[in-house]
Symmetry: C2
Subunit: 375 residues, 2 copies
């Protein structure tokens, strides 16, 4: 499965591969995760992990980038087993995970060309988001007014943190400006007088009409929460740290936790209408991963007992519902009642990313709590 041929991610409940398509989001995330573990955790600093990451990176470099009329760079969303492009999205996310993978791999291998390629694609991403989105390939439609989706500044902020970590210089200053812009954009999603985090707002930071405007995604808000808290800590911004906890961690819990069955709901309408997403009431693994990171990180910095309670509550639900005692790994998709309803371990959107990132982050935070207590 290694050796410059990318990774299968469609893996059944007992480990059997049920589809051979290669999703670029998941290829990039897997390369990033391998490198991060290799680089920062001694017990994963093993040649076979580095080899897997390098072969994944080679696959991405060779096949993920595709010819594109509007922009010099575009990545496919999905490739065949042998690397032929099957689908391309008119969004920025395939390119984002490409940047994450290339920059982290370059940190491990010291490959300066690869680092430069990541930086070049980052410039393209910033151009699409802040200057001109037309290269993404969406037709211009009269009713399609610009919408700010929280995913976009979140993803860019994540890349800024990736590209600036332990670096300095002119390029880093440029990214810091982008980071500040991302934070401002994310904070616009606090709406309804500070009582709601809405997934999409207008480009002026106002609530949008209809279902789109009323949509809440608790897992996404929690992920934004720990991104903001981390950024606030790095920059000594205490007000931002407070906002991250009070708004992006507390509100999604109060609105998104299912009081009857436990677990975080996937989507909610802020006015209590039924969302139109068929999966709105399902319990997905990744919001629970983000919640575990968010509450543990917040507790470790504030020592507020309520945050440890939140962590424990999410932990108990997660480990009693998602992890599979029989065959290992986590299931990804439960009914509202908590029954496994899609029984595969990996699929088009579930790869080697949210679960290992969550365990990795939580282990790091727990270590830091224990070390502080000892000293």
């Amino acid at each position: 499965m290694y050796f410059s041929s990318g990774f299968f991610t469609c893996i059944g409940k007992d480990g059997k591969i049920y589809d051979e398509l290669k999703y670029v989001w998941l290829q990039g995330r897997q390369v990033w995760m391998y490198c991060r573990l290799y680089r920062t955790m001694e017990r994963f600093n093993k040649p076979e992990i580095l080899e897997a990451a390098k072969s994944g990176g080679a696959f991405l470099q060779r096949f993920a980038r595709i010819p594109n009329s509007g922009s010099p760079w575009k990545c496919a969303f999905c490739l065949t087993r042998d690397g032929k492009a099957l689908k391309v999205q008119r969004t920025i996310f395939s390119e984002c995970f490409y940047v994450m993978a290339m920059d982290e791999l370059a940190r491990v291998t010291g490959d300066k060309d690869m680092q430069a390629e990541a930086a070049q694609m980052m410039d393209q991403l910033v151009h699409w988001v802040r200057v001109d989105p037309s290269g993404l390939g969406k037709p211009q439609l009269s009713g399609d007014t610009p919408v700010c989706s929280m995913a976009v500044p979140m993803m860019l902020l994540c890349l800024v943190q990736q590209l600036t970590e332990a670096r300095s210089g002119e390029e880093v200053d440029k990214y810091r400006e982008v980071g500040g812009w991302c934070v401002k954009q994310i904070l616009q999603h606090i709406q309804r007088g500070g009582t709601a985090i809405l997934e999409s707002v207008s480009s002026e930071g106002k609530e949008l009409p209809g279902c789109e405007g009323r949509l809440q995604n608790p897992g996404h808000a929690l992920e934004a929460g720990w991104f903001l808290l981390q950024y606030g800590l790095e920059n000594g911004d205490q007000e931002l740290q407070r906002t991250a906890v009070d708004k992006f961690m507390e509100i999604p819990f109060l609105t998104g936790w299912d009081k009857e069955h436990g677990g975080l709901l996937y989507f909610l309408d802020v006015d209590g209408y039924c969302p139109t997403q068929l999966e709105w009431s399902m319990k997905l693994w990744w919001p629970h991963c983000e919640a575990l990171i968010a509450y543990l990180m917040a507790y470790s910095h504030t020592k507020e007992p309520v945050l440890l309670e939140r962590f424990t509550q999410v932990y108990d639900y997660t480990f009693s519902h998602f992890s599979d005692a029989e065959n290992g790994e986590w299931f990804g998709y439960l009914t509202q009642q908590g029954k496994v309803t899609l029984d595969f371990k990996g699929g088009p959107f579930k790869g080697f990313f949210h679960v290992p990132r969550c365990l990795y982050m939580c282990e790091k935070i727990l270590d830091s709590i224990l070390n502080k207590q000892e000293s």
Copy 2:
């Protein structure tokens, strides 16, 4: 809500409008349904129904067609309340429902220009499907080999039946050739030695690799079943009638009926893997509508008791789970266990179409059964 301004379709459980977007599929279907009821059922031959249909048609003519670089005609998928295009799909379906609406409205009003417009768009559709799809706006990708989705010939066959009904002449002969081609295409979806109906096959009529190739959609197969049976009856093709019943009606029941909880599952994998669609195990209203039409139509022509049993079984499940005794209308989306999980009556994909078409078709078929018995 009438008067050339189109129809709201996002209607909550108690009738309240929760979103004002106008979906072109549903606008076209609603116009078609009003006209069909007005034209063929005496108790609906009322001026207010005709007025509603005409105003919906005027809205579509004014706003649904949008400028398009690749082809002379393209319809939007979704419009704002005041008719501005918000989204356009790179498929044929908005245009198909536009043709259905315009042709049926022209039959009621006698508007020859409108009928010609429907015919002109039909030519465009056939060109996209049989000659050159590039005008739909999808980029050419090396791994994206042509796939035959059952929806495409089904939809075209439905339009052929719409455009040829009670007409004759050169144009009709042209459509009949298209109809024959559609039937052949649909029959290619019988796979695995006649034991499965697969949703997508290669352009050579072979099974595709992976999840896409293994996907079954029982509701869709049943809908194809009654389209084929109707076509077989109109053309005196007894073999096709038999295939429609034995393959497109019996197989989806044997594979798609949930023996534990009742109802038809939405998606299935022919090899028993878990589908990757999050909603695979849900019970949707429309497959049940198609099943009711299919089994009653098949029973009325064959008088085989098993088909009446199938009808009764689907009927019992449908009317005890989908219809809302409190506020009227049907719910659209249930969990596998049969609990309402999206409680609205109309949404982006549920409009005034599947339920009234089902009731209309079943009433017509029941009348014909009773009339035959009397004579």
